[in-house]
């Protein structure tokens, strides 16, 4: 009887996880060294002084002792700016979605009616995204004055940039089969869009929008620092007036809003997913 001999696999194919050779070691060493050099220059540029954390501990302890307990008697006064903060995000996100959706249709290769419109829409979306929302808020405060409205405008313009790009990517990645099938039934372009494109991409668009709303609530908290209303404005004022117990109350309210928005957004995203 013939003996069955195992095939020497190592002779047929090289090992799947070969040991790095000398060149691999050298490249790894150069990579680590280059990263350490970059980190060093970053530490120099930001004036990193860990010892300041030790010397500043007393100041931080002093701040905490003055800030504790939070001044809950001012809760009613804080309620309105808190609502303003949430509303800046809500209004800004809704306006952003309404503007981003038509732009995304123009900015997606598979739905754009003409190449120049595609380029124009992509350019506009990139411009809205490239400028940070804090800078947009500064510009709008200059244009329409202090208050929550410039904050909402800043959030909506920046959202157009973020949502427009993500919406366009979702539309480009969608399965074009149902679109082709509905078009072949003789349906108009608008009907093909509303009956085949919209139902296919809607859950993804809703998920992205809810995530953006969550992000925008966080952003609207800091827009007040440049005069665009909400809790941020109250926080800056309280800090300037050394009202540390009010500051701690505002931080507690901020924490509650952020966590609540995060939880609500995650729950809704699970529902529509």
């Amino acid at each position: 009887m013939n003996e069955v001999r195992p095939i020497a696999l190592e002779r047929v194919a090289p090992p799947l996880d070969p040991q790095p050779g000398r060149t691999g070691h050298a490249l790894g060493f150069i990579g680590v060294f280059a990263f350490l050099v970059l980190l060093g220059q970053a530490a120099l540029v930001v004036h990193a002084r860990p010892q300041d954390l030790v010397t500043g501990a007393a100041g931080m302890a002093d701040f905490l002792s003055r800030a504790f307990p939070p001044d809950f008697s001012k809760l009613r006064e804080v309620a309105w700016p808190a609502l303003e903060t949430v509303d800046i995000a809500l209004f800004g996100t809704t306006a952003g979605v309404l503007l981003a959706l038509p732009l995304a249709i123009l900015a997606a290769r598979n739905t754009t009616p003409a190449r120049p419109l595609y380029a124009g829409a992509r350019g506009l979306i990139a411009l809205c995204r490239a400028v940070p929302d804090l800078v947009w808020a500064l510009l709008f405060v200059t244009a329409v004055g202090l208050g929550p409205f410039p904050g909402a405008l800043a959030i909506s313009v920046h959202s157009v940039g973020m949502l427009g790009r993500l919406f366009a990517e979702v539309i480009e990645d969608m399965d074009m089969g149902p679109v082709e099938a509905v078009a072949m039934s003789g349906a108009s372009r608008a009907a093909v869009f509303s009956h085949a494109v919209v139902p296919s991409v809607l859950p993804s668009l809703l998920g992205i929008t809810l995530y953006r709303l969550d992000e925008n609530i966080r952003s609207s908290l800091v827009l007040g620092f440049v005069g665009a209303g909400g809790i941020g404005f109250q926080l800056l004022t309280a800090m300037n007036l050394f009202q540390y117990r009010t500051v701690s109350l505002l931080l507690v309210v901020t924490f509650v809003i952020v966590i609540a928005a995060e939880r609500l957004s995650a729950w809704l995203r699970r529902r529509v997913g």
Binding site: G177, P178, S185, A187, P199
Partner: protein, 247 residues
Amino acid sequence: MIEAAGLGMRYPTGRLALDNASLSIGPGELVVVLGHNGSGKSTLLRCVAGMLRPTTGVVRVAGQEISRLAGRSLGEARLALGMIFQHAHLVRRRSVIANVLCGTLGRHRNFGSAIGQLPRQETPLAHDCLDAVGLRRFAAQRAGTLSGGQAQRVAIARALAQRPRALLADEPVASLDPEAAEEIMRLLRRLASEEGLAVMCVLHQPALAQRYADRILGLRHGRTMFLEAASAVSSADIAALYEDVTA
């Protein structure tokens, strides 16, 4: 019903995909198109459907010269043509009945359908179409939950909801198991024989073609090798169609 004469198709790359193909399919007739990959089967079907404009020749569907139409008039002419693809191409998140109702949108080119309203007055017809493919009880089910064979039958119901006079099927059984493939072919055969539809079907399975087709069109490198009654097509004819396709 479907008349194609002297069809030629040369792509911008210079490749000749279809060379002087002619075909006519009458009501109640099922014609299967066979050929190797790149033989021009799908190009021929897409020319007939008005999805591609042929370089030469004409296509008439129900008397209308579809190869010269564009825009809205092409959309209206397509009402006579129900199209079935390799994959069912259903909107997976919508119900089965909603998908079937999408087949009626060509008859309802109004504001309501443009903003996403389904023509609910067509619901009885949509149920009849589901009846025809044996899936009435699935009407309320989400399309994404169907099996491949069921989804393809819903796609056929969607095409029937157009009230077409001809059905064009582009490899409708390519992604199905043998049992589901037989079921789809039986259905197409019945729709031709009992409903009087002209059916043109691109296939890769000669055995199915010989069992269900009235006539078989054999294409090789874009040229018509034969167009004969299914019973007259021999194994040698089929073998010649596929052999040494790189030549």
